[in-house]
Amino acid sequence: MKIIIEQLLNGLTMGAFYSLIAMGYSMVYGVMKLINFAHGDFFTFGSYLGYTLLVMGVAYVTSTLGVWGGMIAAMLIAAIGTGILGIAVERIAYRPIYPAGRLPAVVSALGASIFIQNSIMVIWGPRPHAYTSEVIPGYIMNIAGFRINILQIIILLLSFCLMGILYYIVQKTTFGAAIRASALDRETAALMGININLIIFFIFALGPALGGTAGVMVGMYYRKISFTMGWNYGLKAFTATILGGIGNIPGAMIGGLILGVLEMLGSTYLSTAYKDVFVFLVLILVLLFRPTGILGEKIAEKV
């Protein structure tokens, strides 16, 4: 019982990372119908920005803001930095290619991914880096016999807050309605007076910003970051997006959490080595029986 609860908590934490990244995929896919392969690298970039601020400026940042303040500051900087990078990538690599159709944009996205990944390698060096322990807040607490890391709780709360805010923006505000309208039908939405360019600007700022925040969290939680980790997290997060129903933002949140929990339970009860196999098998099974994902709506095919 104790193991189940602890593993559920670990799974939820991991799932929260996936959810944060997956929402970026989902928003971009919803509006642009583009699989943004560079998204995993936005996440890595955010992680490295946080690393630079905290570890390289450790004496200054942590002494003035404290450990928790440093963490928040790193997340903010990472979010702003990756947001700007996201907008820049959209302007340079995607916007000139939209008129040519979807497939050239996929190649361009892969190109952008390789470019960002190698830029990170050139800037920070090819070796993995570590968030050192003096910048990481949190201590282990014993609550009713459970060993719980405060950092984990804070990360979970923060990511749920972020997801909640995004959910509110997308589902309850007029601007969110505009996003959902453009996801349904871009041309018609533009005819209804929705500024599509503003929407694209927004999703390419917010999606990467969430990914960058997740990058700092992953750095804090697992401590080790490397310039290639974006592929792995990006792939899992994209899987989560599909699992929840692509283009559907609540779906991406739920998909990410389910994926994280599945991965943890799979590695606890089945086999650690086969946990990723297990995850992808579940994905394929879900798609076989419910091709539009868990929350996806069935779309009749237009002839």
Binding site: I35, V122, L287
Partner: protein, 335 residues
């Protein structure tokens, strides 16, 4: 009279094509005789491997328009079938060439039958999942067969008895390019056949194709099976060249590069595959002087390429017969 002039036009058109093809083939045959550098010949060999893999993905992605981002998985099946059967049972690798093709084809049939009805991006993610499952399974060393992350090593050179052993760089070069040449010939024949036309029809409009009586499911599966078989052949040659197979050679990144080969060249275009494969395999070698910046430049070039030629470097022309018909039409109006 008229029919003769038509024939002349068609012949002239074909002749021009033949000249060009002849020069290209001669260049490929003479290349190792002129260049004695083993390193450069090896680069040309890997260009050939990527061309073969690109051709195999071109069947699935280019001809039928099915998004397959796990294609390296099929090559992995072929390579591991070769490696395991050769090192365990000592079966000569040339005999394993068709066997690895059949193994990959059977695997593709079994895996793709249930997922073939999925469309577009859903198929894409399922094939990613499939490719990753294959790679992760290989890493985990099931039944002690695949050797885990180290892979299987000690694969023999291809040989026909003691008559001819393919063991040097130029021999491997000829080996791969003869296989590529045969595949190109077969694929061009396929493009102009009933099957090729059905594939292209499905790519353009699957629903209309089905309405006209094309068995969409059958032809899609056929594309996957043939593509996988060709990838299995490539996997076999790859394994014999390197003498070692390891899971890292068949990662998601490699599948993405294959995807890029087809799209950089132009969907469904066989000459395009050559250009795409050249871009992917030669680029990192040419820009070696830039060391750590070369992949960075590579990414940037991919973006710039898509800005200026979104349809690919050598987009597929309309079918040959139509071209000739157009030529004839033009000639007729002149008369």
């Amino acid at each position: 009279m008229k029919s003769r002039s038509e024939n002349n036009q068609v012949k002239k058109f074909r002749k021009k094509g033949n000249w060009f093809t002849g020069i290209v083939i001669l260049a490929f045959l003479g290349f190792p005789l002129v260049v004695k550098n083993d390193y450069i010949i090896d680069v040309a060999f890997f260009f050939g491997i990527y061309t073969l893999l690109g051709l195999s993905l071109n069947i699935v992605l280019g001809e039928v328009g099915l998004f397959d981002l796990g294609h390296m998985g099929f090559a992995a099946i072929g390579a591991y079938a070769t490696a395991i059967l050769n090192t365990r049972f000592g079966i000569p690798v040339l005999i394993l060439l068709p066997i690895s093709a059949i193994a990959a084809a059977i695997f593709a049939y079994l895996v793709c039958s249930p997922i073939i009805h999925l469309r577009g991006d859903y198929l894409c993610i399922v094939t990613i999942g499939m490719g990753e499952i294959i790679r992760l399974t290989l890493i985990n060393n099931p039944f002690g067969l695949t050797g885990g992350p180290n892979g299987v090593f000690g694969i023999c050179f291809p040989c026909i008895g003691n008559l001819m052993v393919i063991d040097s760089c130029p021999k491997f070069y000829y080996y791969i390019w003869i296989v590529v040449g045969l595949s190109v010939f077969a694929l061009i024949r396929l493009q102009h056949s009933r099957i090729g036309r059905a594939w292209n029809y499905i790519r353009e409009d699957a629903i209309a194709a089905e309405a006209l009586g094309i068995d969409v499911r059958y032809y899609k599966l056929l594309a996957f099976v043939l593509g996988a078989a060709l990838a299995g052949v490539a996997g076999n040659i790859y394994a014999t060249k390197l003498m070692i197979v390891s899971p890292e050679s068949f990662s998601f990144m490699e599948s993405c590069l294959l995807f890029c080969i087809v799209l950089i060249g132009g969907m469904g275009s066989i000459p395009g595959v050559f250009i795409g494969a050249a871009a992917i395999s030669l680029f990192p070698e040419i820009f070696q002087t830039f060391a750590q910046y070369r992949m960075l430049i590579f990414g940037a070039v991919m973006i710039i390429m898509m800005m200026f030629r979104p349809g690919g470097a050598w987009p597929r022309q309309r079918g040959g017969i139509q071209d000739e018909a157009m030529l004839i039409g033009m000639e007729n109006t002149e008369i």
